[in-house]
């Protein structure tokens, strides 16, 4: 691994994020002889989906990972390795922001800040789990489903012993299987979507039989292991002294409002929760790309054309950042964005590019149809906004409780930026990645204003906390 970022003599394409989209973009460019740089903040390439194990074990992969994922990860990383003379990967490198007029980004790597000029910028930053605050969600023991998964699949450590899984979407079933395989006791899966809604989406889900089959496989595995899956149920709150000890769940109505008279209390030490994802758009926002609001597809996302160009010159966005459709779509979109860049360079013309991408696009259509089935089922409903009580912390970094937000709304605040100024919600270390979605949706509901009027929390430079020393080190 390289300790210092070596700035190339002339700018080359720079790709942000070493997940399925970013790696495929780099490989497609490399196939055409174009060198590129990948900047990724994780210890190793692969992204959250193909996170490599941090432990050397004879299997090579964590025992909880199925063969299919193993093969996909191996293929992707082997391809990356094959082009290592064309693709430079910087891991543990965080992008602090960019200067779209100067065609450069500022990268923090090894406590040193470096300015990296690009000839094209591919933003493949993916997504993260959307937070929905509820009483007790800041207690140690409550984690995102994906976060817990990384512990068992990459680090081979159990994040807890007795776990309850709540949320929505196919990830819950996979996680339940993996947690069980890891030796954790899975009390149950509480899926907010109704079973009837799932049946209604079967035509869409039939668009991808192998993926549908995966889901059925997980379900029958859970049944065999005696792990119940409850549809139309969800989280109410969590209690405990210093850590989680009691988890309350209840049936949800069609708006996902919990029916409190039917609530049940479960003794468990861990809660894995995932009510959907949000595109990681801080960089596309900071660079000034145009965004639109899509409720069921993770809130705001950058506008892209069919070659994944954003509204900013030389900037492309591919993968979950440009709409949450999962890793299969991300792989295809990464390739398409690279072909788009080849068109812009004049290396191939539009017609050739269309020909090269024809089968990719056919594939994409099928995958997206499948994902739309789930998005209808799993798009978060308004009832979730009623979960927190007035003492529930909404902004974890700045300890802003719901009553402070209510007080601010009572003074007439009608957009999320003013709310941040008044309450400090979204001003802390994570820059609103945890509370931003709730604040926006809650404000929209309470004030009856549109998402456009509410706006989004503007991402500002630096996108991650950085010391003055790191800037000073970069000057030398």
């Amino acid at each position: 691994m390289m300790n210092e970022i070596i700035v190339p003599s002339s700018p080359c394409p720079v790709i942000i994020g070493a997940g399925p989209a970013g790696i495929n973009a780099a490989i497609t460019l490399a196939e055409q002889g174009i060198e590129s740089i990948i900047v990724d903040e994780n210890p190793a390439p692969g992204g959250a989906i193909f996170r490599q194990p941090t432990k050397k074990i004879s299997l090579g992969f964590s025992p909880v990972i199925d063969n299919k994922s193993r093969q996909r990860a191996t293929r992707l990383l082997e391809n990356l390795e094959r082009y290592k003379d064309k693709i430079t990967v910087y891991n543990r490198a965080q992008v602090l922001g960019g200067l779209s007029e100067g065609d450069s980004i500022i990268v923090l790597h090894n406590n040193r800040v470096t300015e990296l000029h690009y000839s094209a910028l591919f933003i493949c930053t993916g997504c993260y789990e959307r937070s929905h605050p509820f009483p007790g969600w800041t207690l140690p023991g409550v984690m995102g489903v994906g976060g817990m998964q990384l512990q068992v699949k990459s680090n081979l450590v159990r994040p807890g012993h007795r776990v309850v899984i709540t949320g929505t979407g196919p990830l819950l079933l996979l996680a339940a299987k993996q947690f069980h395989d890891a030796g954790m006791e899975v009390v149950g899966v509480y899926e907010a979507g109704q079973k009837m809604d799932l049946y209604r989406e079967i035509p869409a889900l039939l668009a991808d039989i192998p993926l549908l089959f995966d889901g059925i496989k997980y379900l029958s595995y859970l049944k065999k292991q005696g792990i119940p899956v409850h549809y139309g149920w969800g989280i109410v709150g969590v209690r405990g002294v210093s850590e989680v000890s009691e988890i309350t769940v209840a049936p949800y109505d069609k708006d996902w409002q919990p029916l409190l008279n039917k609530q049940e209390v479960i003794n468990a030490d861990s809660l894995a929760v995932n009510y959907g994802f949000t595109s990681r758009t801080q960089l596309t926002q900071q660079l000034g790309c145009a965004h639109s609001y899509y409720h069921d597809r993770g809130g705001f996302k950058p506008d892209v054309d069919k070659w994944h160009r954003t509204s900013c010159e030389k900037i492309y966005a591919a993968g979950d950042v440009a709409g949450i459709y999962g890793s299969y779509v991300a792989e295809v979109e990464g390739k398409i964005s690279a072909y788009g860049h080849l068109v812009d360079l004049g290396q191939i013309n539009d017609k050739e590019a269309n020909l090269l991408c024809a089968s990719l696009r056919n594939n994409l259509k099928r995958l997206i149809k499948f994902q739309h089935g789930f998005s209808k089922l799993s798009s978060p409903k308004e009832g979730l906004l009623s979960l927190p009580d007035k003492n529930t912390v909404i902004c974890r970094c700045e300890n802003v409780t719901l009553d402070k937000i209510d007080n601010a709304i009572a003074t007439g605040i009608g957009d999320v930026t003013k709310l941040k100024m008044a309450t400090r919600a979204g001003m802390g270390d994570c820059q609103g990645k945890s509370c931003g979605d709730f604040c926006r949706n809650y404000l929209a509901k309470q004030t009856q204003r549109s998402q456009q009027q509410i706006g989004k929390l503007n991402a500002r430079f630096p996108l991650a906390p950085v010391t003055f020393a790191a800037f000073a080190a970069g000057e030398k």
Binding site: E41, K55, M143, G147, L150, N155, V157, E243, E398, G428
Partner: protein, 125 residues
Amino acid sequence: MLNKNEFQTQKKSINTITLRENDMLYEGEIGNRKIVIMINDEAVYAYQGESVLSTLLSHKIRGFSQNDHGKVQGPYCGMGVCYCCMVKINGINKQRACQHSIEDDMRIDTRSNHFTTLIPAFEKE
């Protein structure tokens, strides 16, 4: 915090086998070097290269972070987004446990935050 000599002494004095209760595999199945690091000046086992978060979780340490307002938190997103798992690593505050890997002679201090130690009045608004 321990100075370097104290660190070495403390490191040698580790006799009690601290079980890593939450490891999914047995010791023999893991090829990483098993090393001793310091968590809050106490010697514990860790595997070189695993994430700091995993070391903490393997020793059943979960409420290890403290935000700028003195509130104790645990890991939440587990993938570098939420900044809820920040600890002091080798004397530097606000390092995300989930994004750092274990290295030799690493010193980790939990519930450390320069805001709340330097400005105790900050919290008591």
